[in-house]
């Protein structure tokens, strides 16, 4: 168990020295479950592979525990890794798969047996230790891969999209199991995924990456509610956040956010913020999540000056909720989450209230969140 430190880690690829990972700084605490999240090709796997020692580090330093491991081969870094496609040895039985690393490290036979048994018990794979990987289902295979990872009791687990090959139901189940495993063993874990639900549910902290650059490092709540820039705001959220482009103007003595089709009055807090930023009348992107736009009467009472109209385009019913996709004068489109008791027909014009407390403002040039 150990903390992992990445100092200015950079990775360049190929002839033209293209940047895959740019100046990555990260302090992963002991026993932390850290998730790297990002679209494919954002450098999250590359970073993980650099920690594992499967990729060379172009610049920077990686520490595992107190040791600088830049020049250590993977086997001397005391880590273990779980791969997306399980990467089990197809020619060996489950038992031998788990015992492989221990045998190579010349552990006495009875200790190997005890260790494998312990790992098998934790993962409930004791019944098929004598089977070959091809005789197992996807979930069982991934469990064996986890067994192979935990049996050596390494300082850290590295997991590279371990659940992506499983079907949806199994994924939820294995997600819970990995969390349970982490709670019981408490080993520092780096978990790479492109699935935001996995990231949100599993991570103590999430690192959102794009094009090799860290966008934000924070707890799942902060990432969701206070995305530091437009990329994070767009990337996180199953139903994407709604964005409106507009400007801040002073109308009748109040600061308002105006787009081509509507104007809404800012709250006192927001007015104070924009006054401090002294950026009245520059271009702003407003972001609001679908669940904070509402048809509820109470919301109209609370925010009478934050109401806009839209024509219903289509409706997604997902059981517990409706997602209404609306269109404002053919210029702006947005999504509203509503309780199933609201039912509107397509083409109908409806009024929507915005929860102004939950509105986020981004500078349209720097794409950064505006805060004070």
């Amino acid at each position: 168990m150990a903390r992992i430190l990445l100092n200015n880690v950079t990775k360049r690829y190929g002839k033209f020295k293209e940047l895959a990972v740019d100046n990555f700084n990260m302090d992963i605490k002991d026993q932390e479950f850290l998730v790297f999240l990002g679209p494919s090709g954002c450098g999250k796997s590359t970073t993980l592979r650099m920690v594992a020692g499967l990729e060379d580090i172009s610049e920077g330093e990686i520490y595992i525990g107190d040791t600088l491991v830049n020049d250590y081969p993977p086997k001397d870094r005391d880590i273990s890794m779980v791969f997306q496609n399980y990467a089990l040895y197809p020619n060996l039985t489950v038992y031998e798969n788990i015992a492989f690393g221990l045998r190579i490290r010349k552990m006495p036979k009875h200790e190997i047996e005890a260790a494998v048994k312990r790992a098998a018990d934790v993962l409930e794979i004791g019944n098929f230790l004598n089977r070959k990987p091809r005789e197992l289902s996807g979930g069982q295979r991934q469990r064996v891969a986890l067994g192979r990872a935990i049996v050596r009791s390494p300082q850290a687990f590295l997991m590279d999209e371990p659940l992506s090959n499983l079907d949806a139901k199994l994924r939820v189940q294995m997600r819970a199991e990995i969390i349970r495993l982490h709670r019981t063993i408490g080993v520092t874990t780096i978990y790479v995924t492109h699935d935001q639900i996995e990231a949100m549910t599993m991570g103590d902290r999430i690192v959102v990456m794009n094009k090799g650059v860290i966008q934000q490092v924070d707890t799942p709540e902060q990432i969701y509610h206070k995305p530091q820039n437009l990329f994070v705001a767009k990337f996180i959220g199953n139903q994407p956040m709604n964005f409106f482009e507009g400007t801040i103007e002073e109308i009748n003595g109040y600061l308002t956010f105006s787009t081509q089709t509507f104007s809404i009055r800012l709250t006192d807090k927001q007015t104070k913020m924009f006054n401090q930023l002294r950026g009245v009348s520059y271009n702003i992107i407003m972001g609001i999540r679908p669940e904070y736009m509402s048809f509820e009467k109470e919301m109209f009472d609370v925010y009478p000056n934050a109401v806009l109209k839209g024509v219903l385009q289509f409706n997604e019913f997902i059981g517990s909720d409706h997602y209404y996709h609306l269109d404002s004068q053919g210029r702006e489109s947005f999504t509203v989450r509503a309780h199933p008791r609201f039912s509107y027909r397509e083409g109908e014009e409806v009024r929507v209230a915005i929860d102004m407390e939950k509105v986020l403002f981004f500078d349209s040039k720097t794409e950064k969140l505006l805060t004070i």
Partner: protein, 305 residues
């Protein structure tokens, strides 16, 4: 295709069962029946020479020269084998020496060919280096040359290495085996890199990965290459002819060939030749039966079939 699948299931079945086979057959549709029909005819056609070799060796003299020739021996006899024995017992170098040479050369060459192909393919597949694609293309291009074209340069090389009249002279020219490298590479390409990376993290050395992970996964390819290289080494007369001036260093196939081919006409000693042909053929036949299952798996796998 379904046919390939049937063959593969067939090859992977640990126990041969007629009932299973018939079940598989029942599941085919009409076009597949037609394909199966033609394949059966083709395979009977290809089986004929083998039947012929077996029968020919046991034919008495008058049957050997029958026209039109018959496939099935009417009056089997060991006369041909006796003739072969008499012939061989009168030679300057005893035939046992040729057999010994052949066995040594074949075993050494087969092992060397398999090992070299595997190592070469592993490097090309899993450790690409600048120019590795070019190297692989060169190896593939070398498949295009007729052996005869290479005889003279090969002679020069063997001569300048000073390995004329040694076992090296038999084995070395055979070792480079483009087909083997190709087959192996097809197989090793399919071993996921992650499996090797997992082994690396588990602490395996490069050789550990090669012998404990890669080789067991590609056993079908090894079996196939073993058969092909066994065949080429066992039936090889070229090295005896070109590089061995010393009679006692020549191999059995060369000797068998010289029994008949060196005579003025090819009528005399037909019986001995027929018996010799069977003796030469048998080891290959046994070898093939031994590895057959794995070979079919390879063919289905690499898309050769």
């Amino acid at each position: 295709m379904k046919m390939i699948e049937v063959l593969r299931n067939f090859a992977q079945e640990s126990k041969w069962k007629w009932s299973n086979f018939l079940l598989e057959i029942k599941r085919l549709d009409r076009t597949q029946y037609i394909i199966l029909f033609f394949l059966t005819i083709a395979s009977i056609f290809m089986l004929l020479p083998i039947v012929y070799i077996f029968n020919h060796a046991f034919k008495p003299l008058h049957e050997l020269f029958l026209f039109p020739p018959t496939f099935i021996v009417q009056d089997p006899t060991f006369q041909n084998f006796i003739e072969l024995l008499t012939l061989t017992s009168n030679t300057f170098v005893p035939v046992s020496r040729f057999i010994f040479n052949s066995v040594i050369v074949t075993v050494l060459a087969t092992i060397a060919m398999v090992v070299t192909s595997a190592l070469c393919a592993y490097a090309l597949s899993k450790h690409p280096f600048p120019g590795s694609k070019l190297v692989f293309s060169l190896i593939m291009i070398s498949l295009l040359f007729v052996p005869q074209v290479l005889q003279i340069p090969r002679y020069v090389v063997v001569e300048s290495l000073g390995i004329m009249n040694t076992y090296w002279g038999h084995v070395l020219p055979l070792i480079a085996m483009p087909v083997g490298v190709f087959l192996m590479k097809q197989f090793i390409d399919q071993v996921p890199n992650e499996v090797l990376e997992a082994a690396k993290i588990d602490g395996a050395s490069e050789f550990g990965m090669f012998f404990r992970i890669v080789m067991p996964i590609v056993t079908p390819a090894i079996a196939t290459i073993a058969i092909i290289s066994f065949q080429s080494a066992w039936g090889n007369t070229e090295t005896s002819q070109l590089f061995m001036q010393d009679e006692s260093m020549k191999t059995l196939p060369y000797y068998m060939m010289s029994l008949t081919a060196n005579l003025a006409n090819s009528v005399a000693r037909q019986g001995a030749a027929a018996a010799g042909a069977l003796i030469m053929f048998l080891p290959q036949f046994i070898m093939f039966l031994f590895f057959q299952r794995k070979v079919i798996a390879t063919m289905a796998h690499s898309g050769i079939k």
